[in-house]
């Protein structure tokens, strides 16, 4: 095995044999691993989403995935979407709120957030960043700055009398200058990111709050047949 050895060209048969053989072995390996891990992965994904939903809408004991139909109505769905919507029910099966996924452009990249809409308060009552690539130390303060998170104890999202849009658009103001309940108290040093959150919530709530209010009656009570 020392020095270059002049080898005769390999026959086509042994090449086919090697490539097809290895392909088959590799395929077998992947399928086996996939089969054994698939259940755990699905479980993990469900737990992750459930945990996030529980964080933004703690009152909910069970959730129901819904989707918008073409005629502007909500419909129960089991499908998975990039930006899913859930209705949250308490222990007695009463509708307490909706959890909405929204996304928009931040300072570095798209920010994906989850927020809860309360039917009783007509307000956004919970907020969690699902995915963000904001600058650590500056933009990512939207995830942990206490005064910023305090915005989401009750961020006003009242509808116009006609019910087709927000009465006051949600806007981000400079840190410490929040006066009205529909204003987001921003973060000094993370101006662009906190403004992005305001825009994301405003766009999403403008679309969804009217739809949710319109359909709330049909989904007010749910039979608790599914597991929580």
């Amino acid at each position: 095995m020392t020095g270059p050895v002049q080898q005769p060209p390999t026959s086509a048969w042994s090449m086919y044999r090697a490539i097809v053989g290895i392909g088959a072995l590799c395929g077998l390996l992947i399928v086996t691993v996939y089969q054994t891990t698939a259940a755990r992965i699905r479980e993990n994904q469900e737990r992750f989403l459930a945990m996030a939903v529980a964080q933004v809408l703690p009152a909910a004991r069970s959730t129901l995935g819904v989707a918008l139909t073409e005629d502007g109505r909500l419909e129960k769905t089991g499908e998975e979407f990039a930006l899913p919507i859930f209705l949250g029910y308490d222990a007695s099966g009463k509708l307490v709120g909706a959890v909405i996924t929204a996304e928009g452009m931040g300072y570095q990249d798209k920010i994906r957030v989850l927020y809860a809409y309360s039917f009783d308060l007509d307000a956004i009552v919970g907020f969690k960043v699902l995915d963000s690539k904001e600058t650590p130390g500056l933009g990512d303060r939207i995830e942990k700055e206490p005064h910023f998170l305090a915005n989401f104890e009750k961020l006003d999202a009242t509808l116009t009398p006609g019910g087709d849009s927000l009465l006051h658009p949600i806007v981000t103001v400079k840190q410490g200058q929040k006066i009205n309940p529909w204003e987001l108290d921003g973060i000094t040093g993370a101006t662009i990111t906190s403004e992005a959150i305001g825009n994301i919530l405003n766009n999403s709530a403008t679309t969804w709050a009217p739809v949710l209010e319109r359909n709330a009656q049909d989904f007010a009570i749910v039979e608790l047949t599914e597991e929580p």
């Binding site: 090697a18 490539i19 290895i22 072995l25 590799c26 891990t37 992965i41 993990n44 600058t135």
Partner: protein, 213 residues
């Protein structure tokens, strides 16, 4: 010092220091720089790479007489990619958060030139046991190197180690260390140190050889 026959220990040990994949061969830079922002990320990446390294090394070595010369690269890549896919699923099953923080870099283990390099340069020419030892050594060297970088970056950048807070809150974190550029800085510091130590080693060896001709 180095005899003709290579001992089994040397197959393993050379990857740790003398031929360390990151600090000496400077291979696999993409994951070494990109996923070493925390110690846990670095460790996971190192272990995942080690696993793929060992499994592909063993497979390539076992099949070395079965794989024709002309089809070797496609076969190696196929083997490596399969193990990477397997690792990807396993990590997803262990922890989704971990998988999200490693991002696309798990999938990119496929193109880590360290793995293809060892398959081509070592596993395809040696027995299964030697290939395994070599992969184990290289993997350990890669993991340790990533961990060193990750530890420095996590302590300075996040004031924690393996997710456990270290100093009181008053500690000023160095934002740059969790950013990609921090990877270059930490990497450069370790390269400087390792090269300095290696130079000293060779110098002292040269001196002893001069004394005993």
């Amino acid at each position: 010092m180095l005899g003709k026959e290579v001992s089994a220990t040397d197959d393993f040990v050379k990857g740790l220091w003398r031929e360390n994949p990151v600090f000496v061969q400077v291979l696999g830079m993409c994951p070494a720089l990109a996923v070493s922002n925390t110690a846990i990320n670095a460790l996971t990446m190192g272990l995942a790479t080690t696993f793929v390294l060992i499994m592909s090394g063993m497979s390539v070595s076992a099949l070395r007489n079965f794989i024709p010369r002309e089809a070797r690269i496609v076969s190696y890549i196929c083997i490596i990619a399969s193990f990477v896919t397997a690792v990807d699923y396993v990590i997803m099953a262990i922890s989704l958060e971990l998988h999200r923080s490693l991002g696309a870099f798990i999938a990119l283990i496929v193109v880590n030139c360290l793995i293809l390099g060892r398959a081509e340069a070592f596993a395809s020419k040696n027995t299964v046991s030697r290939a395994t030892l070599d992969a184990l050594g290289m993997g350990a060297g890669f993991t340790v190197a990533l961990l060193w970088i990750g530890v420095v970056r996590e302590i300075l950048g996040s004031n924690s180690l393996f997710g456990i807070a270290l100093f009181p809150d008053a500690f000023q974190t160095w934002t740059v260390m969790v950013l990609p550029s921090g990877g270059f800085f930490a990497m450069a510091m370790w390269l400087l140190l390792v090269n300095w130590l290696k130079n000293r080693q060779t110098e002292s060896q040269a001196q002893t050889q001069e004394l005993t001709p």
